[in-house]
Every structure is written in structure tokens, then in C-alpha cells.
């Protein structure tokens, strides 16, 4: 075979593999949009579920997801950022710091249902928060900690060393240098990480199973100790637990979830590009 022909075969093969990856993504989107779009209406977004969830909307689930995600990020962002600062700026490279890094990477790989069990044991039972927004948000928060820590560390590492040196050479302390020089430069990366974390938290079902999610709760929560519905869990419930659900309600719910998660990720990407462009050094 001529090298030229070989090359062409290789290219075609690689292209086919790539297509194989893109195809499912495209198909999922197309199927969900095609089946879900008819269900989408103002009423679907703002009404409570009715007739055994076979009619009406998913408003309580949207609100529930909003509260959970908000709670998770309020909890996880400061802790994650501070942890990353500590790891990146204050520890030297040794066995201990490598162990922590390894732990964080592994934390990201734990199945989300395990986080759910852990959240139930710790927050629901041990701290006696009950199945509540608080327990669910904390569980989600712990789940997205690795995302936030890793992206913050990356952002901190990308701040040029000489910025720190200049600051130190002016007699500015390490903490002030981090606060006034390093963090502002790392801000875009940190925010992007936080938003990606939000996206992850918004789509998860398993961590909510035992910690917060209500099967059917058509009223809005009154405190952080209330249960709530959440979109991913609601989708799970109407898809598996309730017979004779109209197809379009299921796909409509899925569509809302997909739009939410993809929208959040897209927003993170655009924000990153925008902020990156603004700061050239």
C-alpha cells in the first residue's frame, strides 16, 4: 500500500471514531428536544404538578434545585478556594501534600450514590438535620468540592510567579500578596470552576435520594429544614414510579434539566473566554 493511501485510511478511521463520540450527544439532544419541546410552556415552568404529577408543571422542582445548588455553592466555594490556597501556596511538595492531592483526585471519582449515603449518615442522622434542604445542599457541596479545589488550584498556578515576586519585593506579606495580587488574577478560573460545579450539582440525583428529595411536595419550602423536590429526582420519579405519565411531561422535564445544565456550562465557558480576554499580562 502506498503511504498516501495508508494515511487516508488512518484519517478516515479516526474521523469515524470521532463521529461515534459526537453521534450519541447529538441524538440525545435531538430526541429530548423533539419530544420535550411540546411540553414546554409558561404553565409547565410555573405551575405545581397536578393529577398525580400527570399534569401541571414542575415549578417546585425548579425552585428546589435552585435552593440546593445555591446552598451547595455557598458551602463549597469558600471551603474549596481556601483549601486550594492552602495546598498551592502554603504547603511544600512532600509526601503529605501529595497524599492530599491524591485524595482530592479520588474524591472526584467516588460514585455520587456513595455521597448520598455519606450525606445521609452524616447530615441527616448524625447532625440530625433530617431530610432537608440543608442536608442535601451540604451533600452536593461535598460532592463538588473536588471540582472547585482542582479548578482553583489550576487558576492559582497560572498566575505568573513574577507577580508574586514583585509583591514580595515591595515588602508585602504573603497573605496580602495572595489576597491582593494572586486571587484577583486567578478570579476568572475560580469563577469558571464554581459554575462548572454548579452545573454538576444541578444534574445529580443520587446525592439527593436519601438526604432531601421529596417524592411529591407541591408547596414551596419555608426553611432550610424543609424537604424539596428537585428536577433530576423528579424526572427519576415520574419515569419509574408512576404509571401512565404522558411522554411529553417526562421529556419536558428532561429538557428543562438539560437546558439548565448545558446552559450553566455554556455560561461558564463564555465567562472564561470573556474574562481571559480582558486580562493580558
Amino acid at each position: 500500500m502506498k503511504p498516501h493511501t495508508k494515511q487516508r485510511i488512518a484519517f478516515s478511521f479516526l474521523f469515524l471514531c470521532t463521529l461515534l463520540v459526537i453521534l450519541p450527544v447529538g441524538l440525545i439532544l435531538i430526541i429530548i428536544i423533539k419530544n420535550g419541546l411540546p411540553a414546554l410552556s409558561w404553565q409547565f415552568l410555573t405551575d405545581i404538578p397536578r393529577a398525580g404529577m400527570r399534569e401541571g408543571g414542575i415549578f417546585p422542582a425548579i425552585i428546589g434545585t435552585f435552593y440546593l445548588v445555591l446552598g451547595a455553592i455557598i458551602f463549597a466555594l469558600p471551603i474549596g478556594v481556601m483549601c486550594a490556597i492552602y495546598l498551592n501556596e502554603y504547603t511544600k511538595e512532600n509526601i503529605f501534600s501529595r497524599l492530599i492531592r491524591l485524595a482530592i483526585i479520588n474524591l472526584a471519582g467516588i460514585p455520587s450514590v456513595v455521597y448520598g449515603l455519606f450525606g445521609m449518615a452524616l447530615f441527616v442522622m448524625f447532625f440530625k438535620f433530617g431530610t432537608s434542604i440543608l442536608s442535601g445542599a451540604l451533600t452536593l457541596g461535598i460532592m463538588i468540592l473536588p471540582v472547585i479545589i482542582t479548578s482553583t488550584q489550576e487558576a492559582l498556578r497560572s498566575v505568573p510567579k513574577e507577580f508574586r515576586e514583585v509583591s514580595f519585593s515591595l515588602g508585602i506579606s504573603k497573605w496580602q500578596t495572595i489576597k491582593r495580587v494572586v486571587l484577583p488574577c486567578a478570579f476568572p478560573g475560580i469563577i469558571t470552576g464554581a459554575i462548572l460545579g454548579i452545573g454538576r450539582a444541578a444534574g445529580e440525583t443520587a446525592p439527593l435520594l436519601f438526604t432531601v428529595a421529596a417524592f411529591y411536595l407541591p408547596r414551596l419550602p419555608r426553611s432550610i429544614f424543609d424537604q424539596v423536590m428537585a428536577i433530576p429526582y423528579h424526572l427519576y420519579v415520574i419515569s419509574t414510579q408512576i404509571p401512565n405519565i404522558p411522554e411529553k411531561i417526562r421529556y419536558g422535564t428532561a429538557l428543562v434539566l438539560v437546558i439548565l445544565v448545558l446552559g450553566i456550562n455554556l455560561f461558564a465557558i463564555i465567562l472564561r473566554i470573556k474574562l481571559r480576554r480582558k486580562q493580558r499580562w
Binding site: 513574577e162 519585593s169 515591595l170 515588602g171
Partner: protein, 252 residues
Amino acid sequence: MSQYKINVTKLNLWYKDFQALKDINLSIKSNLITAIIGPSGCGKSTLLRTFNRMNDLIEGVRIKGEVLIDGENILDSKIDLLSLRKKVGMVFQRPNPFALSIFENIAFSLRIQGIKDKKKIETFVEKSLKSVFLWDELKDKLKSSALSLSLEQKQRLCIARTLVTMPEVILMDEPCSSLDPLATLKIEELLQYLKKDYTIVIVTHNMQQASRVSDETGFMLLGELIEFGPTKEIFTNPKDKRTEDYISGRFG
């Protein structure tokens, strides 16, 4: 007060196992410009960075010996690093203003020192910009980004930024190596003004520059200070064969 600002005795420095400074002895006089020359990798920057303890930031550095500034051993672990670094300012090779406005670049360290008085900050900014001859050029665009300045202006701004901490010594590590010849001459002219008020130590690759600007020169080679003395003597009548070889361009 003695005429010596910095006294170095038996200074040795290691990066892990590699010895970068070997038994350095030298005295730097107040209100003069002292140049440190030598081929790449001979330890010029390392020596300079011991004067404001910037080497502390690097892992695995070990230092032995004594560096006295105004009679105080700055290698002492009890020394207040923050005030040392205010007293001994540093200008880097690449002009590196913060990604802030011209005004804020200079106000930066004032604000961190907790100065809130707007008038006071403005006075400081004006004064330090005047001492680097940037005030007339920039006084109408203090709010614009420092990154939009020319390289020479940036380097002047960086010098001005150092001046606000009211240093007594200014360390410069190849401050002109990213500037064109004209800008270089202008910065050198500035140094002549600054030396009235400050003790300046400048590291340079450029021997013409050393002979143009400095009063005293030290020649380093492989971590050793080979020769130190008045610039004129070093350049016209070097005592060491290696110095002579270097300044006549036979190596380096």
C-alpha cells in the same frame, strides 16, 4: 554613619547541592552605583537577591555568612522581612507593572500599608512619578492601564512603584535588557539622578552600561567575586587575568 551601606563577609549560598556563591566578600558604598558584571550563570542575580532575601522563596536554598545592611545582619532569622524589603527595593529584568491603572500601580503598596488618606496617596504618587520623570507625560492619564505604556515607561513606573516604600537601597537586575538602546540611555540617566538619594546595585550583562553608569564594579565568575573596585580601574587596569579576558570580550 559609615560610608558603607552593605557589607558582605564570607557569603556562601547553595541551591540544594549546587554552590552558587562562594566566599563572597564585598562592601557597597552609600549613594553610589555599584555594578555586578559577569557571564551568564555566574551568580549575579543570586547575590543581588540575598540583599532583600528573595532567595528565601526558593526551596532548598542554604546560606552561610554575613550580610550587613547599616550594620544589621539581614540573614538573621529574627529580621523583619517585610521592613527589610521596603528598605531594599527591587527592580526586575522584565518591566512588570500590575494589571492596574498607572495610579493604582503606585498606590498599591500604600493601600496595603493601610494608608487611606486620599490626599496623602495622591501626593505620594505624584512625588514618585516625578522622581522618575514620568509625571509630565502621564499626569493626565493616570487612570489608564499601566499595560498600555511603552516598555521604557513601564520600567520607569516599576522604579516609581519601588520608590513609594521609601527604600534606601535599590537593587536592579538587568533593568534595561528588554529596552532599546535609546530607552536604555534614558534609564541610565535616571539612575544618575536617583543615586543622590539611594544606594543602587545594578546587575548587568552589558559592560558598556556598567562602565557608563557605575562608580564601582564587581566581576563575578562561577560563583566567585573575582575582582571588585572603582569602575575605572576595573575597566582600564584590571588586576586579575580573568577580569581582563572578560572585559576585553574574550569570553562570556
